[in-house]
Subunit: 348 residues, 2 copies
C-alpha cells in the first residue's frame, strides 16, 4: 500500500511527534494549550460541571490484529472506545491524549496513517488532541488513549445507581462487532491456508464496520438530555450485554433479569451467526465491542423509552442481588453469565 | 523473591484490577470518583486555576530493564516522571491514571509489586490514583501514566516565554541518573559473563537511587511560589541539560549560552564518570533522566537565585536564535548539541 517508507529512527522522537502533530486544530474553548510542552492545559469548566477522565490501552495481538485492522481504522477505534467511556458517564467528550509505542517494523508513514484515523475521530466527535507521547517498543504496536469530558454535576451517571424495578435499556443493536470479527477471522484463516486468496467480505460490510470502525453514542447522550432523562446507572457495552448488565447489578446491589426476545439484533447479525453455527443471543451477551450504551431508568419513564427508535428495553432490575437471570424465548430461566471477552486471557 | 506465584489468568482482568485497586485512599478534595466506573470524575478547580495533563509511556527494553529495575521502583518512577512534567508547568500534581500491559510471564504478585511502588509515589506526592486500564500484552511490560495537576492561570509556565538576557537556572545536580545507569549496565555485563556473580554496587547508592528511584521537584515549585518568582520558561530535565536548554531556546525564539563550570554535579557523579572514562560534563549535557527542573528568570531576580542552595545559574538566553553555545572551562566556545537519549532510537 505505502510506496514510501521512512524509518522512524530517521526522524527521532521529537521529529516524529512534530510530524504527527502538525496543524492540530483546536475545537474546544477549554483547550488552552495542546501538544508541544511538558503538559497540556485546559481551563476550568463552568461552575457546576465536573471533569471526567478515562484511559484505555489497545495492544497488538490482544485487542487488534494488524492482518485485518487497517491502521487508520485502528487509530479511529482507539479514540472512539475512550469517547464511549466518557459517554457512559453521561458526559460530553472534549479532549484526548494519545500514547503510541511502535516497534521498528513500523514506518513514519504507518504512524501517520494511525494518526490520520485518530484525527478523523477527533474531527467527527469535535474533540481536541492535546497531547501524548510517542516512543519505540520492543515488540508490536500499542496505543494508550486518555479521554477527558465534562458533565453537569447532577447529570453524572455512575454504574451504581440502579434501583429495583428500574428498566434496563440498550441503545442500538448488539452482537454485530463480534460477528464482524468472526468474518475477519474466517478470511484470515482462508488466507493462511491459501496465501494470495482474496478475502470474500461482500455482504458483511455493516458487520465489518461495527468491528473495525465502531462509533461512540454521543447521539444517545444528546437524546437523553433532550428527553431530560438522567439514567440511574449507565455503562458502555464493550464486553457484551451480560457482563455489563452484571456490572450494573453488582455495583448497584440489585438483581437483574434480561429477556432474550427483547435483545436488539440486526437481521444481518442474526443470519450470519446462524450461517456460522453460532447462537445469535450468545453473540450479543458475550460478544463485546459494540460500544452501545446500557442504562437503567425508573419505570415512570417507560413511555419515553418504549417506542423510541434508539432504545430497547431488554430487562429490569430486581430486589434480590443474587438474581441474575436470562429469560429465554421459550420462557425458561437460566443464569445470566459473563463470558465476555477478557483482555487478560492468554492471547495465544 | 516472590514465594507465591498466581497466574494473572486465574483472576482475569476485572479480578486483577479489583485486587490492585483495593483501598485506594483519596487525598485530593477534587477527586469525586476514582477507580471502578467507566471514567474517573474530578470537580472543577477554583476560579482562576487551569488543569494540566501529561502522559508518558514506559516500555520494557526501551525505558527500563527488568534485570536491574525492581518492579516497585519502576512503579514509583513511572508516577514520578509524570509528576515531573506537571511540575515543569509550575503546577501542583493532583491525580494520576495508570495503564498497565503485562505479558503472561508476569504474575499477580509482580503486578501488585508494581502497584505498591505507584501507590508509594502517590502517597509521597499526595496525589490520587483515580483510574486506568490493565490488560495483557504479547511481549513485555508497558506502563502508561496520565497525570493531572492544577496551576494558577498567571503562574502557568510554558517553554516559550524566555527572553534574551534571562538567566538559565537548574535545580539540584545533574548527570547522576545517567551514571547510575552506567554502573548498573556494567554489573549486568559482569553478571552475563559470570552468572551467579554478586553485583558490586557499594558506594554507588546515591547514583543508583537517582536512576532507579528519582524524585520530582515539587519542592522547587513550592520554593518558587514562596519567592513569588514565576519563571519565564520551564522544562524538566529528562533528556539531558543540552536538549532541554535547546528546547527552551527554540520555542522561545532565543539563543542560549551554557557555562561548563556552572553546571551542578555531585562529587560522586564526577569521580565515577572519571573512573568510567566518561566526560562528566557530557553526562550532564546528554545523560538525561535527572528530572530536575530547568527554567529561565529575568536578570532582576538574580539576587533570589544566586546563593539559593536549590539553584544553579548555568547560563543565559541571548538575542540571536542561532546562538547555541557551550562555554568550556578553559573559555572555548563550542556548539551546544542535543545528543540526548532518544526513546525512538533502535533499542537493540
Amino acid at each position: 500500500m505505502d510506496t514510501e517508507r521512512t524509518e522512524i529512527g530517521a526522524l527521532g522522537e521529537f521529529g516524529l511527534i512534530s510530524e504527527l502533530t502538525r496543524n492540530l486544530p483546536s475545537r474546544q474553548k477549554s483547550t488552552i494549550l495542546g501538544v508541544g510542552d511538558d503538559a497540556a492545559v485546559i481551563s476550568a469548566p463552568e461552575k457546576g460541571l465536573h471533569t471526567v477522565v478515562s484511559k484505555d490501552l489497545l495492544c497488538e495481538g490482544v485487542h487488534f490484529d494488524l492482518m485485518y485492522a487497517p491502521l487508520k481504522h485502528l487509530g479511529y477505534k482507539a479514540i472512539v472506545v475512550n469517547i464511549s467511556d466518557i459517554c457512559a458517564m453521561n458526559a460530553k467528550p472534549t479532549q484526548v491524549l494519545v500514547g503510541l509505542a511502535l516497534s521498528n517494523r513500523f514506518s513514519v508513514e504507518a504512524a501517520k496513517e494511525l494518526y490520520s484515523g485518530m484525527q478523523l475521530a477527533c474531527e467527527r466527535y469535535g474533540v481536541d488532541l492535546i497531547g501524548g507521547d510517542t516512543t519505540s517498543s520492543r515488540a508490536g504496536l500499542m496505543l494508550s488513549v486518555t479521554a477527558l469530558g465534562v458533565v453537569q454535576e447532577q447529570n453524572m451517571t455512575l454504574r451504581n445507581g440502579a434501583k429495583s424495578g428500574d428498566l434496563l435499556v440498550a441503545s442500538g443493536e448488539l452482537g454485530g462487532a463480534y460477528m464482524g470479527l468472526q468474518v475477519l477471522e474466517r478470511e484470515k484463516h482462508v488466507f493462511k491456508e491459501a496465501p494470495g486468496a482474496q478475502p470474500d467480505l461482500t455482504g458483511f460490510e455493516a458487520l465489518l464496520e461495527r468491528q473495525l470502525k465502531p462509533e461512540a453514542r454521543v447521539d444517545v447522550i444528546e437524546e437523553l438530555a433532550k428527553l431530560e432523562l438522567v439514567p440511574s446507572a449507565m455503562i458502555d457495552i464493550s464486553d457484551g450485554l451480560a457482563s455489563e448488565a452484571l456490572h450494573i447489578a453488582a455495583q448497584s446491589g440489585c438483581g437483574v433479569r434480561v429477556y432474550e426476545d427483547k435483545i436488539p439484533m440486526s437481521e444481518q447479525m442474526y443470519e450470519t451467526a446462524r450461517a456460522f453455527n453460532l447462537d445469535p443471543t450468545l453473540c450479543t451477551l458475550s460478544g463485546g465491542e459494540d460500544y452501545e450504551l446500557l442504562f437503567t431508568v425508573p419505570q415512570d419513564r417507560f413511555e419515553d423509552i418504549r417506542n423510541h427508535p434508539m432504545f430497547s428495553i431488554v430487562g429490569h432490575m430486581t430486589e434480590d442481588p443474587n438474581e441474575r437471570k436470562l429469560i429465554t424465548r421459550n420462557g425458561m430461566e437460566t443464569e445470566l453469565k459473563a463470558q465476555g471477552w477478557d483482555g487478560l486471557k492468554d492471547p495465544s
